[in-house]
Symmetry: C2
Subunit: 185 residues, 2 copies
Amino acid sequence: MLREDVTDAIRAAVFEELAAVGFARMSIEGIARRAGVGKTAVYRRWKSKLSLVLDLVSAFAAQGLPAPATGSLYGDVRALLEVASHALRHPVASQVIPDLLVEAARHPEISDAIKAALLDSQQGVAALVVRDAVARGELPESTDPDRALDVIVGPLYWRLVVVRAGLPEGYLDELARSAVAALRA
Amino acid sequence: MLREDVTDAIRAAVFEELAAVGFARMSIEGIARRAGVGKTAVYRRWKSKLSLVLDLVSAFAAQGLPAPATGSLYGDVRALLEVASHALRHPVASQVIPDLLVEAARHPEISDAIKAALLDSQQGVAALVVRDAVARGELPESTDPDRALDVIVGPLYWRLVVVRAGLPEGYLDELARSAVAALRA
DNA sequence: GGACGACGAGACGGTTGCGTCGCGACGTAA
DNA sequence: TTACGTCGCGACGCAACCGTCTCGTCGTCC
């Protein structure tokens, strides 16, 4: 029987190592070292660096994304931005996510896993939000949910991950208002 | 006298290698191999992998970014999106840019170089566009140029680099309309 | 209390890249 | 013609990591 605490320690170490050096530089030796574990313990569970990371991403996907239902488009958008900004302001996550996105272009398995773990659920939530807004008459029926997602999270991702600028007081409110106006256009 | 054609071959190889394997995995040996050049020729010009890349980014910065002046906010925004989408659809650039952005978090020198090469000029252009629009009465004086940049290029970057989805016919027009509406909100 | 299996540690040969050095070939400028 | 500097090539010792293996230890079931 594999010891659960060892498994958890390895998973945590992978996460930290991924943030510290990135997928490309990450080594099994480094993970074992950080976890305070023998290399054997790692190889007994996963067969490669790639499977380790895929496992981690899948675990993340299992969490799911809460679908907001605040009763107004603005409220839903604001709630989405709140959740996304929490995730992207986490220093480890904000390093790991873009790193894996870059690697995804080179490893189809990573690409698929991320798509399943993040994009699909995000697109699902966006589709729900748009559907509700259309039902309330807040948006035209022709609204494309994918474009909605672009307009809602794009500016936030750009600011937090690309520019790496802070979020001034009330900025999420502004972004939410902007997004609603953009969707109505 | 260092031979110019050799220098150019190395620079080109760095660019290709950066796109193929990323900064983390990039090696001087690989660059020399790809350029058809001895390692000596590389070390004679640059002292490390980092200086090679910094040199490349600086060269990119020297190009500058053309400031649109179409006479309308929509026109300016549309022009900005056009330029940005051309850059981000280039398969090599769309691999190299996010890769360097991720590495920037670990190497302050890269961060500074990218800031000087891309963000500063983008922010400058955005400031000009906003200023003109304010002068025409298209935007309120209180408009924050940085937020304008977030709202204009964020959705495009998200779609092209993060989601890696295509650009349907007329999508840039939609994005431009959305951005204008968002800025007016 | 004995058998079993996972554990950490670390040795193993192999691969890759590091940065330096020496080689003979080539081109250019005195 | 001679002298010099760069060229491609490849060897050098060093370091890190690969994936496999063999230890002796420890905890848990039967």
